[in-house]
């Protein structure tokens, strides 16, 4: 019953979370049933088997991003990684200064870590991106101060899928001796990441955005030059003191396998996904008053974020319940605020409200895309027929000039 219920809508919300790849699940299960040891148990082979698997997985994660396995620290997910990197490095290097820099369109957990540091007495700058969602290098440079200790910029934006120029931003940080953290939760398996070349000090990863299990992630902590962080979770001294807590072996194994598959298959997969995304884009652009949010060129193949003018966002989501999509980030969609990411791009509240994020993934088919285009066309037509704003637009009234009674 669950299967029927869950399979019916077409899943186009891969940026929110991905299903576990069957190959990943297969690899995980023996570590739940047979090799269940605590990897920290050094006194018996149950523990050793678990530890071996954990280290193998660490290798796989490191390989995907061309890092040394000793630079990978396990965490419970990207949220924890981001908290650990930002608070941990800012605390450790606080003697250097108390200014921290990020971008207004970062994930909530980055923004909230910054807010927490502000409460502790740090000063934060939240840089506005350009209307296309990208960070302007000059503005970034100017935002750095002599007392800037850390900068945090996400690799790929979760809502609009734009790819920041991490190499250029990192070089600026290197010159200014600023610790550079990158949230790569949305980037793994979608863009090439080479940490040997990239001037990045700390990088956050998540398993469940790359066909691995939920509840597991990692933080890359550079060894050369060595970056230190203050632990946020203390205890048994796991992960070389940077992150204590018994590790879930099966989840780690799952993340390793998911990242291994990503490394091998990403190139072909991205090509296939790009074709589907472009098809979806062209199909939807047939309609009037449709706006793509974020730069199309510097963007992962998987994402299409698009606003349908004169249609309200929530009713749009209701209308398209046969497809599973997000309006804004999944983590904030419980609130009624329009997406702060789209607002930071300078989108009006109305367009921000009426945006849909389609994210395509490993199991999306061409038929799924065809169905989606058809559905959207039908529903947008219906909702616009219902919309007084559409009438006004058609009558040539400029809605931005109308004086609306506030309520």
């Amino acid at each position: 019953m669950i299967k029927d219920k869950a399979r019916k809508p077409i899943y186009l919300d891969y940026s929110s979370t991905t299903p576990i790849d069957a190959r990943v699940a297969e690899k995980m299960i023996p570590f739940i049933t047979e090799h269940f040891g605590n990897p920290a148990s050094r006194s018996h082979s149950f523990g050793w088997t678990a530890e071996e698997a954990v280290e193998e997985a660490r290798d796989e994660v490191a390989k995907l991003v061309n890092a040394d396995p000793r630079e990978i620290v396990w965490t419970s997910g990207a949220t924890e990684s981001n908290n650990l990197a930002i608070k941990g490095a800012s605390h450790f290097y606080s003697t250097k200064g108390k200014h921290i820099l990020t971008v207004a369109t970062e994930h909530k957990c980055v923004i909230d870590s910054f807010r927490e540091l502000e409460r502790e007495g740090y000063t934060a700058t939240y840089l506005e991106p350009e209307p296309n969602g990208l960070v302007d290098l000059e503005k970034f440079k100017k935002a750095i101060r002599p007392d800037t200790v850390l900068a945090s910029v996400m690799f790929v934006n979760n809502e609009i899928g734009v790819i920041q120029d991490i190499e250029a931003l990192g070089n600026v940080c290197r010159e200014q001796k600023v610790i550079f953290h990158v949230d790569a939760a949305q980037a793994t398996g979608k863009v090439d990441i080479d940490l040997e070349k990239l001037p990045v000090d700390l990088m956050s990863f998540s398993a469940h955005k790359t066909y691995g299990p939920k509840g597991i992630g990692a933080l890359y902590v550079r060894r050369k030059p060595r970056i230190r962080i203050e632990a946020q979770m203390h205890g048994g001294g796991h992960e070389r003191g940077m992150r204590s807590g018994t590790l879930a072996t099966h989840q780690i194994v799952g993340m390793g396998e998911a990242f291994r598959i990503a490394r091998i298959e990403m190139q072909l997969e991205n090509e296939r996904i790009r074709k589907l995304r472009d098809k979806l884009l062209h199909g939807l652009q047939d309609m009037e008053e449709v706006y793509v949010n974020g730069d199309l060129k510097h963007r992962i193949a998987h994402n299409l974020n698009i606003s349908f003018n004169y249609v309200e966002g929530e009713s749009l989501i209701m209308a398209v319940k046969d497809i599973a999509v997000s309006s804004g980030s999944a983590c904030t969609s419980a609130s009624l605020e329009p997406s702060y990411v789209l607002r930071a791009l300078g989108r009006s509240d109305e367009l921000a409200h009426s945006s849909i994020r389609f994210s395509i993934g490993r199991f999306t088919t061409e038929a799924d895309v065809d169905f989606t285009i058809q559905l959207l066309k039908e529903k947008i037509y219906k909702l616009r027929e219902l919309s007084p704003l559409w009438d006004m637009f058609k009558d040539g009234i400029d809605i931005s000039k109308v004086e609306w009674a506030a309520h």
Partner: protein
Amino acid sequence: MAYSDKVLDHYENPRNVGTLDKDDPHVGTGMVGAPACGDVMKLQIKVSDDGVIEDAKFKTYGCGSAIASSSLVTEWLKGKTLDQASEIKNSAIAEELALPPVKIHCSVLAEDAIKSAIADLKSKQGKLN
């Protein structure tokens, strides 16, 4: 968000969608809300000479609850006198549709739309008289 069956029904099959001639002296038009707030409701009533609402139409830009609230009041308005109409309270709308607390404002907006439409009608008729 979990919607009640009634909200879903009105959303899927909205009643009385459309437009009445806003220049008709028997028609009152209320437009409330603002695009920036995520809801705009346009409610129109057509009143007979003896002061009974004989037709009501709406168009709404807004969430499912806003659409359902305005659809519901068009049903309720028909056959009512203006006095009866102005007694429709948002709480009754919210109760009928089982709106969750975060959606109560949709029913408030619908009540405002009724008042606004009646006021428009009265001001038109005042001018005529």
